[in-house]
C-alpha cells in the first residue's frame, strides 16, 4: 500500500495551550481514515495543521514523500489536499456558483473547471438547482454539500472533512455519509473527523481514537466499533 500522508510526532500549541501532544498516524492511498474523540481532543487542530492554517511546534507532516508542515494553506491546496472546515464556512454573499468557482481558484485550465462543475453538479443536483442563490440562504445540509463541492472543485487527492454531520438532520447525515463513501470510491482519499463516532467508524477503513491531544487507540473501523472501551467512551455504552 502507498502511504499518502504520514503525520509524525506532531506537536501543536494553541496560544499557551498544548493542544496536540506528539500525534502520529498515517493515511494510505484510497482509504477512509477516521479520527474520533471528544471535544478538545485536538482533532480540529490536527486538521488545521495539515491544511496549513496552523504551524506545528514540532513534528513532521509528510505528504507524497514531501514534508509539508511549514507550507501555507494555499500551497497545501495546490499540492492536492482540500479541507472542508467545521461549520461549513461557505462564502455568504457569494452565489452557489461563485462559491464553487472559488474552489477551483488555483486551476487555470477552463476545460478542467468546466468538467469539475459537471462532476460536482452531478453529485449534488441540489446545488445545480440553486446555483444562482446566495450561499447563506441554503439549509445546513445544503451548505455542507456546497462546502464539500467547493473542496472537490480543487480536484484533491486527499480531502479532509471536519465534522461533516454536525448540526444536520438525521436524513441529511445518512446522505452525507453515503456521499463520502462515493467520493472515496471514485479515488479520493478521505480523512474524516467526527464526533458521531459510530457513523464515522462504520464507513472508515481505519480509525484512531484521540483523547487530550494524543492517540489512545488505533485499528480498523470494525475493530474499534467492537472495542469495549471505545463503545463505553464514544458510542454510548
Amino acid at each position: 500500500m502507498i502511504v499518502l500522508l504520514q503525520v509524525d510526532n506532531l506537536v501543536v500549541n494553541y496560544g499557551v495551550i498544548n493542544a496536540v501532544k506528539g500525534v502520529s498516524f498515517k493515511i494510505n492511498q484510497g482509504e477512509i481514515v477516521s479520527l474520533i474523540g471528544a471535544n478538545g481532543a485536538g482533532k480540529t487542530t490536527i486538521l488545521k495543521t495539515i491544511s496549513g492554517l496552523l504551524k506545528p511546534q514540532s513534528g513532521k507532516i509528510i505528504y507524497q514523500n514531501k514534508e509539508i508542515q511549514s507550507q501555507k494553506a494555499p500551497k497545501v491546496v495546490a499540492e492536492g489536499i482540500s479541507q472542508v472546515p467545521e461549520g461549513r464556512h461557505v462564502f455568504s454573499g457569494l452565489s452557489v456558483m461563485e462559491n464553487l468557482q472559488m474552489g477551483s481558484f488555483l486551476e487555470r485550465d477552463r476545460n478542467q473547471i468546466k468538467q469539475r462543475f459537471a462532476e460536482v453538479f452531478d453529485r449534488f443536483p441540489i446545488l445545480k438547482q440553486r446555483k444562482h442563490q446566495d450561499a447563506a440562504t441554503l439549509s445546513g445540509g445544503e451548505q455542507q454539500m456546497l462546502a464539500m463541492g467547493r473542496a472537490l472543485m480543487a480536484n484533491p487527492k486527499l480531502i479532509l472533512l471536519d465534522e461533516p454531520s454536525m448540526g444536520l438532520a438525521p436524513i441529511f447525515i445518512n446522505e452525507i455519509f453515503d456521499i463520502i463513501k462515493e467520493i472515496n470510491q471514485q479515488g479520493t482519499t478521505v480523512l474524516l473527523i467526527e464526533q458521531n463516532a459510530k457513523k464515522a467508524l462504520s464507513i472508515a477503513d481505519r480509525g484512531y481514537v484521540l483523547a487530550t491531544g494524543s492517540v489512545q487507540m488505533s485499528g480498523t473501523g470494525e475493530e474499534l466499533l467492537a472495542n469495549r472501551e471505545v463503545q463505553k467512551a464514544y458510542l454510548g455504552g
Binding site: 491546496v77 464556512h89 454573499g93 457569494l94 481558484f105
Partner: protein
C-alpha cells in the same frame, strides 16, 4: 427651483469625489476591518502627482489621471506592506492608531519636502460653462461626474466579475475558508489597497481641477468626510459608499447655499453623530452580502 437644481449639480460633483474616497475606506474596512485614516492623504499624493506631471512633463488630463491612479495604488500597497501588515494580528486599535500615524507622516513629510504652501493646480482643461434651463454647469463638473461614475462602474465590474474580485469578497466574508481554497490572503489585501488607493489618486486629480488649489494638508478634511460618507452608507458596503458620498456632497453644498458656509463641516460631523446614534449600521448596513 433653479437654485435647487444648481445645488444638486454642484453637490453631485463634490459628492462624486467623496464617493471615490469613501469606496477606499469601505473596501479596506471590509477586508481587514481597519479604518485607514491615511486614505485622505493618498488623495493628496494623487493631487500632487497630477500637479507635478502636468507642470513638468505636460501630461494631458487622461494620462495625468491614469498615472495618478498608478501612483495612488502603489502608495496604498506600500503603506499596507510596511505599516499595516506587521500588525495584522494585533488588536484593531493598534492598527487604527498606526493609520493616524501614517496620515501625519504623509502630511508632514510632504510639507517638509515640498513646503506647505498652497499651489495653483494647472488648468489643463479650459473651463466652459453651459447654461441649461437656468442651471449653470461647467465642463469640469461634467468631467468629474463622468469620470467618477465610470470608475465606480469599473470597480463594481472588478468586484463582481473577476477572479480577484471574487477573491476579495471571499476573504472579506471568511479569510480562513478563503485560504483553504488556495487564495493568497496577503495578495488579496494588497490588491484591495491598490484598488481603493487608485480611486483616491484619481479623486486627487479631479479635485485639483475642480478647486484649483492643492496643499499637503488637503486630504485631512475630505478624508474624514469620506469616512463619514462610508459610515452613512454602511461601512463595508460598496454601493453604500457611493450613495453616502453623493449624499454628503449634496448636503454640504446645500448648507453652503443657504448661507451657512462656516458650518458646512460641522453639519457633516453632526450627521455622523446622528447616524451613529440612530442607524449605526448605515443605510446599506443590513445588506451584509454586498460587503467587500
Amino acid at each position: 427651483m433653479d437654485t435647487l437644481f444648481q445645488q444638486i449639480i454642484n453637490g453631485l460633483s463634490l459628492g462624486s469625489i467623496y464617493a471615490l474616497l469613501a469606496l477606499g475606506y469601505t473596501m479596506v474596512y471590509g477586508i481587514i476591518k481597519l479604518i485607514n485614516f491615511a486614505h485622505g492623504d493618498i488623495y493628496m499624493l494623487g493631487a500632487f502627482w497630477g500637479y507635478y506631471v502636468i507642470n513638468t512633463w505636460h501630461f494631458n488630463f487622461i494620462s495625468a489621471l491614469l498615472s495618478a491612479m498608478v501612483v495612488g495604488a502603489a502608495s496604498g500597497v506600500i503603506i499596507e506592506y510596511f505599516a499595516y501588515r506587521p500588525l495584522r494580528h494585533s488588536p484593531r486599535i493598534t492598527a487604527l492608531i498606526t493609520a493616524i500615524g501614517v496620515s501625519f507622516f504623509l502630511e508632514n513629510g510632504m510639507s517638509y519636502l515640498f513646503s506647505s504652501n498652497t499651489r495653483d493646480f494647472p488648468q489643463i482643461i479650459k473651463q466652459v460653462n453651459y447654461h441649461i434651463g437656468g442651471v449653470l454647469i461647467s465642463n469640469i463638473q461634467v468631467l468629474i461626474l463622468v469620470t467618477a461614475c465610470a470608475l465606480m462602474v469599473l470597480l463594481q465590474l472588478i468586484i463582481k466579475k473577476t477572479k480577484m474580485g471574487r477573491a476579495m469578497r471571499a476573504v472579506s466574508v471568511d479569510a480562513d475558508a478563503a485560504e483553504l481554497v488556495g487564495i493568497n490572503i496577503n495578495w488579496t489585501i494588497s490588491f484591495t489597497f491598490a484598488l481603493g488607493s487608485a480611486l483616491a489618486g484619481a479623486a486627487g486629480v479631479l479635485i485639483g481641477l475642480y478647486y484649483n488649489s492643492i496643499d499637503p494638508l488637503m486630504g485631512m478634511t475630505p478624508g474624514i468626510k469620506a469616512f463619514v460618507a462610508a459610515v452613512l452608507g454602511g461601512i463595508g458596503s460598496v454601493p453604500g459608499a457611493s450613495v453616502g458620498g453623493f449624499l454628503i456632497g449634496i448636503l454640504e453644498t446645500f448648507v453652503q447655499s443657504i448661507g451657512l458656509s462656516a458650518y458646512k463641516d460641522a453639519v457633516v460631523y453632526f450627521v455622523l453623530i446622528v447616524i451613529l446614534l440612530i442607524l449605526p449600521a448605515g443605510i446599506f448596513g443590513k445588506n451584509v452580502k454586498e460587503k467587500v
